[in-house]
């Protein structure tokens, strides 16, 4: 069945921006929890949480969106980026 409304490029771009913002917010919320711990604990804990609970594509999208430009991320998330595991298998 193929009647599903195919999103236009514009809609897709808007969604992409929205999704980018949403993932940044989710990561920021995780950091807000772990920030009470010393950075040496908090940074890996943030990455571990994302590795454990985010799907392969969410992590890929997140890394693709922020690996180059991570200014809008929570400072701790920025430091956790390197520890976020790219997908295993495929």
């Amino acid at each position: 069945m193929s009647e599903a409304v195919l999103p236009t490029n514009e809609v897709q771009a808007a969604h992409k921006a929205e999704q980018r913002e949403k993932l940044a917010r989710m990561a920021g919320q995780i950091a807000d929890f772990f920030k009470s711990y010393p950075d040496a604990q908090a940074v890996p804990a943030i990455a571990d949480h994302i590795n454990q609970f985010w799907s392969r594509r969410m992590r890929e999208d997140f890394l693709a969106a922020f690996n180059g430009d991570s200014q809008e991320l929570h400072p701790l998330v920025r430091r956790a980026l390197a520890l976020i595991r790219p997908a295993r298998g495929g």
């Binding site: 069945m1 193929s2 009647e3 599903a4 409304v5 195919l6 999103p7 897709q12 969604h15 992409k16 999704q19 949403k22 917010r25 989710m26 919320q29 995780i30 807000d32 929890f33 920030k35 009470s36 711990y37 949480h49 454990q52 609970f53 985010w54 799907s55 392969r56 594509r57 969410m58 997908a87 295993r88 298998g89």
Partner: protein, 960 residues
């Protein structure tokens, strides 16, 4: 098959370490001290005649039928009120007793109708049984004298003693002419239910049972059915029995409403349910029930049930009824097409917390082994996923720590963000019973719920916090515990990780966590918080019970950990009477989580990336499994809107009504190419579906449900599936059509596989469940009969882990545009999305969602009760009727989400818990104003109720 009848001992069996031995009719009997002579006699099979006694109630001693003779005692004491004593010699049958009993019965019958043949209790009448038991043969007084039986006196005048039937309650009838004033109904309402709606008015011959100065429906009666069950005559009788007659066989099964998981006897005539009667040997409810489980089962055979599979090309096309084979093959070929075009991860499924463990297990197996990804989630995502995360992190297991019975040992009960009298009424009755015995109660809730104050119970402290500030409150309570030296130091030293404790204690002792500092956020006076903290911390047994008011927040998981911290710090985990217990929403939401419904976990909460666990599953299922976590429900919808998630199989769940931000949900569903919905009814989600597979109700299948106390209860089939197949059979067919074989002949075989794959279920089998009635997991070699209380000597994770729980306010803020906070919840008579209860007479109590608003906020806006008001948030707007209520605090409004046409979730946002993405239903910034119109969404929804639900060859009214 026959009717299951539990033994009635006449009075409760007491628990005592001391045993006494007495002689009854020459036979030696040993019973726990405190047991009545009546119950002692029954324990050796001697039934002493009785009318006012039943073992659900305390003895009363009014009917004078259970008289006995006791050597060395004067007179003939009533056996129900006389405790058995060491060396007592009792005679239950003598000439004297026989004469006395006959005399008593003669008086009863002289004022009772003699229409036994046409009476609704014929076949199930204790009065008739007793007349037979005592050998009553004549009534010397005649029937013409003063009586309650006849509407007119012998000389044709109106009989002032006569009362007409009260048929106001939709489920039962009160016929005062048949009443013997045994008080059983009044006592059941008080002792069992704890509502105190019934009373005896008048004295002597004028004594009448009455629901206060009104009729049953207008009274405080909550229609739990306890009075009907207690009535020994036809005075209080189920309308279904009045219409159909007595049942001829019964089976014990488990209610499919809330997470209490009450056991019921389904009493049947053939495959027709006559009534559902709570089962006394059911451990979750011990013979009690609520209006939903007891009476609201008629949806199962409602005319709206869809019993034939259907398909359609576009959602705007009318549905076309097809064969099972065609529907399943079509869905499977679409799923295959979509997966080959868009990739392995473009498919997913949502398992049902209303279906059985076995059905849930097969659904997640279908996803993991059939779809070959981990895109499976369940409605726990939107309710108790933070419980899973929070309790696993701190204690090591994703479930409550106690059995329900444990509350009978609690001294201080802390209820947080739960409304047990409405959401979990049978458990609320247990809790209220304990409170009447003297336990103290602390309620933390934004609303003044019934637990705060209702007949014979009153909370010591109502911490009426602002929605969204739970963590600030729990930290303030813990701050008092730590800074006032109330920590259970020995317990913490022995049971918990000390380094973590010390870090936590330093954090919690900081001034910003003090009640004085947090008052600014929570609005709760610091002195109240301090007093409540001291009360909980100094209790011998302090128990926490909580609900969705804890979890459905952006800091839901933090709050769960905050409560676990508090319970550990005060030594309140690991024995009877204490603990930290989620009151779970749906009948099998605990089971759905246990069965591996989460995208990151196999059964028994083991992460998919754990190689050893995954290999066991791969070996058993014969396919390689994905090592990466899949998508959670909100992520699925996000990716659908983004265009990468294309097909969804939704079993027994109505995300278009229950999930937050409805317009985002429907945008996601609309963007998918194939949506399969399996349900009893054409629900809201089905409007966006391309394939509809009929579901079956709990009456139509075998399986198990697991309740909030981890109790695995049997569900037993009492009628054939109306559609010809139960869900587990459909899943097998669907998997086969996808090319993955599953072979099970009966749900018991599915449970055997679960047991083989899951250490905490290793000892579970249908044989064991049939033998023991139920078991609480973990059930394995270490605990062959299950585990009522967890973490007894050590925590499941080893040492209890304190977590730092900094309060982080939600991003959802009130402001000039949206100055009020909306919080949502449920009420007693309706259940969840209402698909079931709205199709029963329960709507007599609640036929629309209303907005509760404080008089101050109402007056500011010129709103009166009954006015139509517009409720708007950043997500959307709806209109509904207002009810001005002092249960609310100023600044906070409340509504329910039971009625699809209201669309409460059009208002809620997609903010969610940081750890689990559980939506923040409990905090939405809104504005309320008077209006004359329904909202655009509501108008469109009303049109789509018809346009998206057409069925070829049927009139549109068949839809919801």
């Amino acid at each position: 098959m026959s009717l299951i009848k539990e033994i009635d001992f006449g009075t409760p069996i007491r628990v005592s370490e001391k045993q006494v031995t007495l002689t009854i009719d020459g036979q030696s009997v040993t019973v726990p001290a405190g047991t009545s002579v009546m119950a002692a006699a029954m324990s050796v099979g001697t039934k002493i005649p009785k009318l006012c006694a039943t073992d659900m109630l305390e003895p009363f001693g009014s009917c004078r039928l259970c008289l006995v003779e006791i050597e060395g005692r004067r007179g003939t004491p009533s056996s129900c009120t006389t405790p058995a004593e060491e060396g007592m010699v009792v005679r239950t049958q003598t000439e004297q007793l026989s004469t006395l009993r006959k005399g008593v019965m003669e008086l009863y019958i002289s004022d009772h109708p003699l229409d036994c043949l046409t009476c609704s209790a014929n076949g199930d009448c204790e009065l008739q049984d007793m007349a037979g038991a005592v050998g009553l043969r004549e009534v010397r007084y005649g029937y013409e004298g003063e009586n309650h039986v006849f509407a007119k006196t012998a000389d044709g005048l109106a009989n002032e003693n006569w009362l007409a039937k009260d048929t106001s309650n939709p489920y039962f009838t009160y016929d005062p002419t048949k009443c013997i004033v045994c008080n059983r109904c009044v006592r059941a309402c008080e002792e069992v239910q704890g509502t105190f709606a019934l009373t005896i008015t008048g004295r002597g011959f004028d004594s009448r049972v009455a629901p206060g100065p009104t009729d049953f429906l207008g009274s405080e009666c909550v229609s739990c059915g306890a009075c009907v069950q207690a009535c020994p005559t036809a005075t209080l009788m189920e309308n279904s029995v009045i219409q159909m007659g007595q049942p001829e066989h019964s089976k014990v099964t488990t209610c499919a409403y809330c997470g209490v998981g009450c056991s019921f006897k389904a009493e049947m005539q053939g495959d027709k349910v006559v009534r559902m009667v709570p089962y006394k040997d059911g451990k979750a409810n011990e013979g009690h029930s609520c209006v939903k489980g007891r009476f609201a089962w008629g949806y199962a055979t409602h005319k709206d049930r869809i019993t034939k599979p259907m398909t359609r090309e576009k959602i705007t096309d009318p549905w076309r009824e097809v064969s099972w084979e065609e529907a399943i093959n079509h869905a499977a070929s679409e799923f295959k097409r979509i997966q080959s075009r868009y990739g392995r991860e473009s498919l997913g499924a949502i398992t049902s917390s209303r279906c059985t463990n076995e059905e849930v297990f097969l659904m997640q197996k279908l996803v993991r082994a059939g779809f070959r990804n981990n895109n499976v989630d369940t409605c726990a995502r939107v309710c108790h996923s933070p419980t899973g995360y929070g309790l696993k992190t701190t204690l090591g297991t994703s479930a409550g720590t106690q059995d329900f019975k444990s509350v009978a040992k609690a001294d201080v009960i802390l209820v947080i963000g739960a409304n047990p009298t409405d959401g979990h009424p049978v458990f609320a009755s247990r809790m209220k019973k304990r409170l009447r015995q003297g336990a103290k109660l602390i309620v933390a809730d934004p609303r003044r719920i019934d637990m705060v104050k209702s007949p014979h119970i009153k909370a010591e402290h109502h911490l009426q916090l602002l929605p969204g500030t739970n963590v600030a409150l729990i930290n303030a309570i813990a701050h008092v515990v730590v800074t006032e030296g109330l920590v259970a130091e020995d317990y913490v030293r022995e049971r918990c990780d000390l380094a973590d404790f010390e870090i936590w204690a330093r954090f919690i002792a900081q001034a910003h966590n003090s009640p004085e500092a947090s008052e600014e956020f929570t609005g709760v006076p610091a002195a109240d918080v301090r007093a409540a903290a001291r009360l909980y911390a100094t209790a011998d047994n302090g128990a926490i019970f909580y609900g969705l008011g804890v979890t459905e927040h952006s800091q839901g998981s933090t709050m769960v950990m905050g409560m676990a911290n508090l319970a550990m710090a005060t030594g309140n985990i690991g024995r009877d009477g204490v603990g930290i217990n989620p009151l779970r929403g749906q009948n099998n939401v605990q089971g759905a989580c246990d069965m591996g419904s989460f995208p990151h976990e196999f059964t028994g909460y083991r992460h998919v990336s754990d190689d050893a666990t995954r290999q066991i599953f791969e070996m058993m299922w014969g396919v390689p499994l994905d090592v990466e976590p899949g998508l959670r429900i909100p992520n699925m919808l996000d990716e659908a809107v983004g265009g990468s998630f294309k097909a969804l199989y939704v079993q027994g769940e109505d995300i278009a009504q229950s999930d937050p931000n409805t317009q985002h949900v429907t945008a996601g569903l609309s963007a998918m190419e194939c949506v399969v919905v399996q349900d009893l009814f054409l629900n809201e989600t089905a409007k966006y579906a391309h394939v509809f597979l009929p579901g079956s109700s709990f009456l139509e299948k075998d399986g198990t449900f697991t309740n909030a106390e981890r109790r695995i209860n049997r569900v037993r089939q009492v009628m054939a599936p109306l559609s010809g197949k139960a869900e587990w059979q459909v899943t097998i067919d669907f998997a086969r059509a996808l090319g993955y074989e599953m072979a099970y002949a009966h749900p018991s075989e599915i449970m055997d596989e679960i047991a083989r794959l899951t250490p905490s279920f290793a000892g579970v089998s249908y044989d064991k469940l049939d033998k023991l009635g139920s078991v609480q997991w973990p059930c394995n070699d270490k605990a062959p009969t299950g585990t009522p209380v967890m973490h007894v000597d050590r925590f499941v994770r080893g040492k209890g882990k304190f977590m730092i729980t900094e309060y982080v306010p939600t991003e959802e803020r009130t402001g000039a545009r949206f100055p009020l906070i909306l919080t949502t919840g449920r009420i007693l008579s309706q259940y969840n999305v209402g698909a079931q209860t709205r199709r029963t007479a329960n709507s007599a109590w609640h036929d629309e969602d209303v907005l509760e608003i404080h008089p101050f906020d109402a007056e500011n806006r010129g709103i009166k009760s009954g006015d139509l008001v517009a409720l708007a948030s950043r997500s959307g707007d709806i209109s509904l009727r207002a009810e001005v209520s002092e249960r609310m605090q100023p600044g906070v409004v409340y509504t329910t989400f039971h009625h699809a046409e209201t669309g409460a979730n059009v208002i809620t946002t997609d903010f969610s818990d940081w750890a689990t993405n559980c939506p923040e239903y409990k905090v939405t910034a809104v504005e309320v104003r008077r209006t004359n119109y329904y909202s655009q969404w509501q108008e469109r929804n009303r049109e789509e109720d018809i346009s998206l639900r057409r069925i070829t060859g049927r009139l549109p009214d068949a839809a919801e």
